[in-house]
């Protein structure tokens, strides 16, 4: 369950994508082949993904990278068993070979020829992309990097190193299954990040800022890379004066936006139905129970237009949903994918996602948010006598079975006498999800989304978003080196 904020590992570029990658008749025959040996259900997932990225590091644009990945993954389900095969060969022969491999892997019985009727089309919502990244000149993308580098370096001679990264991707998917579903999506993402190193008497410190949205190049009409670079540099410079972080259990105020990873780790993963189904979740069997402070309403929302974790349909063809998981502290539901939902005789909640056509889907979060409370954020800090204010959390990790989690603080300060004072060095916060949820005693009215992240589970990375208002946890263990 590792999660790290940041870069998409293979950011992508543009290119003309065929309206439909495959002919419907071919899809139909492929699904038929997948079911021929007795499979109960079959699915074909086709992906065509292009990416491009450019990196400026150490004062120069190192290189531009472009990539293309295209292929299909085929699933066959028999009872509790899933057979899966994938291929980069999208010819009808290639698909049939993969379908037969998946069917053999699922070890079906002795079925006859299945006919799949692909009549129930779902029209994908068109993606709201006003400037397709493929229509933007490479030189324009490079220019963004150069500007970010110059602005970051101009923040002070202590800034000794700057890395800026631009990335975009266009992922066209098609999903068809033996229930007659035929749908797809066209997902465009654009990302920009700046990382700085500052050098001073206390050694080296780092600062990072990133923006990423499921939109096109118009991202840069909404955000200014110079501003981003300035903030990354300031973050590194601030930390040159940082004191060692305290160690021990203290009240912790989590700032708006930058603290969503707390809930992603503390309870999001524990609410994934695949883990719940195997008793690997501290939240198993708790629907209807008070699991969090009454201040807390937790929503996983794949429909927030333009956010990093949004989409029209998930990787099993279900439209994105807004799912309330915890309402006023009471656990209302888990997140579901097709297989887990089918077992329970219900519908997927639109949380079936996969890294690529080479992977099986599983239950994953989208954009995980805590809705606003009604306290002024300043009052939360003023009401905290001694503690830690975390402006930005880094990545985190959770053991869903026990609920124990950790996450890193990448920008944090001491709170003394109700005021934010000295910056502190990096350290981890550690806690137990179910316990921490009950220890939230103040919730701000200043909700904001945080930075784009990649969530890792079972070795698969998918883009996720999160957001929170300012909030206070009455006691969390801060893992610093100061007494």
């Amino acid at each position: 369950m590792q999660r790290h904020a940041g870069t998409i590992s293979s950011p992508l570029p543009p290119g003309p994508v065929e309206a439909h990658v495959l002919d419907e008749a071919v899809i139909q025959r492929t699904l038929g082949a997948a079911l021929r040996t007795g499979g109960e259900w079959a699915e074909i997932f086709v992906e065509d993904k292009r990416s491009s990225s450019a990196v400026l590091d150490d004062g120069k644009v190192e290189e531009l990278t472009s990539g293309r990945d295209r292929g299909a993954g085929i699933r066959v389900v028999v009872g509790e068993t899933t057979g899966f095969a994938h291929t980069a060969d999208l010819s009808e022969d290639g698909l049939r070979t993969a379908a037969e491999a998946a069917a053999a892997a699922a070890r079906g019985g002795s079925g006859g020829t299945e006919v799949v009727d692909l009549t129930r089309h779902t029209a994908p919502r068109p993606n709201d992309v006003s400037v397709a990244p493929e229509d933007v000149a490479k030189a324009t993308k490079v220019e963004l990097l150069t500007r970010a580098d110059q602005v970051a370096r101009s923040q002070g001679s202590a800034i000794t190193q700057v890395m800026a990264r631009y990335g975009d991707s266009r992922r066209k998917i098609l999903i068809a299954n033996s229930d007659g579903l035929l749908t797809g999506d066209d997902q465009v993402k654009t990302l920009f990040s700046v990382s700085c190193v500052a050098f001073g008497d206390t050694g080296m410190q780092t600062g990072r800022e990133s923006i990423g949205h499921t939109i096109g190049f118009e991202l840069f009409d909404q955000y200014d890379v110079e501003d981003l670079a300035r903030r990354a540099a300031e973050r590194a410079l601030t930390k040159l004066n940082a004191k060692p972080a305290p160690s021990g259990t203290l009240p912790v105020v989590i700032g708006k936006g930058g603290g969503g990873v707390l809930f992603h780790e503390a309870c999001g993963h524990g609410l994934e139905a695949d883990l719940v189904g195997k008793s690997a979740s501290a939240f198993k069997g708790k629907v209807g129970e008070q699991v969090a402070s009454p201040l807390i309403t937790l929503v996983d929302d794949g429909t927030i237009a333009g956010e990093w974790g949004c989409f029209a349909v998930d990787d099993e063809g279900r439209p994105a949903q807004r799912n309330t998981l915890i309402e006023d502290g009471v656990l209302t539901d888990y997140m579901w994918d097709f297989l887990r939902a089918r077992k329970e005789g219900r519908l997927s909640s639109g949380n079936g996602r996969r890294q690529s056509y080479q992977h099986l889907p599983m239950v994953r979060m989208t954009n995980t948010v805590i809705t606003n409370g009604d306290t002024e954020p300043d009052d939360i800090i003023a009401g905290t006598d001694k503690g830690v204010y975390v402006a930005q959390l880094g990545g985190g990790q959770v053991n869903t079975a026990t609920g124990d989690f950790v996450f890193g603080m990448t920008e944090a300060y001491l709170i003394e006498d109700g005021k934010v004072t000295d910056p502190i060095r990096e350290g981890n916060l550690i806690g137990n999800g179910p316990e921490v949820l009950t220890r939230i005693d103040a919730l701000g009215n200043d909700f904001a989304m945080g930075s784009p992240g990649m969530c890792g589970k079972d070795g698969q990375g998918v883009p996720v978003g999160d957001g929170v208002p300012t909030l206070r946890v009455t006691a969390l263990t801060v893992g610093g080196t100061a007494a």
């Binding site: 290189e63 990278t65 263990t477 080196t481």
Partner: protein, 452 residues
């Protein structure tokens, strides 16, 4: 240098390199792999995946500018498109006199025997059976084991070739397989988890009993764990924890981190950077290493590099670019995360030279402290640039020279610099693990514990 799949990939590489135009350097890295993954749950097959994947990454360097492109297929028209895209990308890179592909350097390629024909003839039913056995054995290991979240068998056969217009033409081939289990234990309403695995080049190498015993032991020994009090203590890292720490340490010794001003060890060659017990070696030619490899990501022979000797920093690891720019040469340490990126410089198989004592003897010597069995949040809690180190931890108290009650939900914090200096002893129990570092028990004094 092998025949079969390797020679076919070399030919693909040749076709790419033949597309080089005048004044261009062109490199092709070509990969192909076949993978099988079986997961069982409660005796039944939960999922069975079988997959073939392949791809090519192309670097073009012209007038000191570098461009890169990749594709997940090896069709001829795609190869030509990929070269053209890399060439176009190169036009936007800034010129750098040190850019350039590897050239043959005369170092002989070690023969490591990483490929076992035997893996290919193992029947599917035997693979399924290995995963089923693992699940059954771990369930039977202890009455407190309440569930097996996953029990799996995974194998892969991989081929790689690197061909350049500068005279590199190498290929390698290897097989690998493992079984792994992740289990749940419960007692008096307390749940804990544990994992166990066994790794090999072919299924006959695998030790299902050991994987099951490790998983059961890890999960049950933490039952009833409490939070320790905050304070400063001596810790003993289990080999698995040491390996994770060494992998991070290795990343700080990359020539790339040094050149780009992101290594806390820059300008410190020849200086004492740790306790005199510390000798750190990166040796991908050691066939016991799971990450052993005959050639690096640029096609040069891998070699044994001594990075820290008796506590003194001796050298960094380099690829062709960082070696040239540092006024030295590649140490055969170009690392690639597949075909989708250009090579970085990094350690491939680091280990500490082991000491004389078993873990038990080290614990007796320590007297009072904590045995750290696992750490979490390394990716967020360790800053390899500043050296700040803080991670979540679980383990057992050490009291009176023996292990005592289980502990959880605490952090250990220090800095990488300080921890290296605070190393008190290195164990004799060197263990190769499925990561780019080997494990060994390690005793470190004066680490800050944050708990209750």
């Amino acid at each position: 240098m092998t025949a079969g799949g390797g020679s076919e990939l070399l030919e693909v590489g040749d076709r790419v390199v033949a597309l080089a135009q005048g004044g261009e350097q062109v490199e092709a890295v070509v990969l192909r792999s076949s993978d099988t993954e079986v997961r069982v749950y409660e005796g039944e097959i939960e999922s069975f995946s079988s997959a073939q994947s392949q791809g090519v990454g192309v670097r073009v360097i012209v007038d000191g500018r570098q461009g890169f492109a990749y594709a997940g297929t090896l069709d001829d028209d795609v190869l030509a498109e990929t070269v053209a895209e890399a060439r176009d990308n190169a036009a936007f890179g800034e010129p750098d006199e040190f850019n350039g592909l590897a050239e043959p350097d005369g170092v002989a390629v070690a023969e490591l025997n990483l490929y076992r024909e035997g893996l290919l003839s193992v029947p599917t039913d035997d693979k399924i059976s290995l995963a089923q056995q693992l699940e059954a054995v771990v369930k039977a290991a202890d009455a407190r084991i309440t569930g097996v979240e996953s029990a799996e068998y995974v194998d892969s056969v991989g081929d790689m070739a690197v061909v350049t217009s500068t005279g590199i033409r190498t290929s390698g081939r290897e097989t690998a397989c493992y079984v792994a289990a992740y289990v749940l234990a419960e007692e008096d309403g307390d749940t804990q988890t544990g994992f166990g695995f066994s790794v090999g080049r072919e299924p006959s190498d695998l030790d299902v009993a050991k994987a099951a015993a490790d998983a059961a032991d890890r999960a049950t020994r933490l039952l009833g764990a409490t939070k320790p009090a905050s304070g400063r203590v001596t810790v003993v890292f289990d080999p698995y924890v040491t390996a994770q720490f060494l992998a991070i340490l290795g990343s700080t010794l990359s020539g790339e981190a040094v050149l780009k001003g992101r290594s806390l060890f820059a300008d410190r060659i020849g200086e004492t950077v740790g306790a005199s017990q510390l000798t750190l070696v990166d040796d991908p030619t050691d066939p016991r290493a799971f990450t052993a490899g005959e050639t690096d990501g640029e096609g040069l022979a891998t070699r044994r590099n001594v990075l820290i000797e008796d506590g003194t920093l001796r050298q960094f690891v380099h690829n062709t670019y960082t070696g040239r720019r540092s006024g030295t040469a590649s140490t055969g340490s170009a690392i690639r995360g597949g075909f989708k990126s250009t090579p970085g410089a990094g350690c491939q198989a680091v280990s500490l030279l082991p000491g004389d004592l078993s873990q038990e003897a080290l614990i007796a010597q320590v007297g009072d402290g904590i045995l750290v069995q696992s750490v979490s949040g390394l990716h967020s809690g360790v800053n390899p640039v500043s050296g700040d180190f803080s991670t979540g931890a679980e383990g057992l108290r050490i009291a009176g020279g023996a292990v005592g009650e289980p502990l959880r939900e605490f952090t250990i914090a220090s800095t990488i610099q300080k921890m290296l200096g605070d190393v008190v002893a290195v164990g004799a129990d060197l263990e190769w693990l499925p990561m780019s570092a080997a494990g060994v028990s390690l005793v470190i004094g004066d680490v800050t514990i944050s708990g209750a």
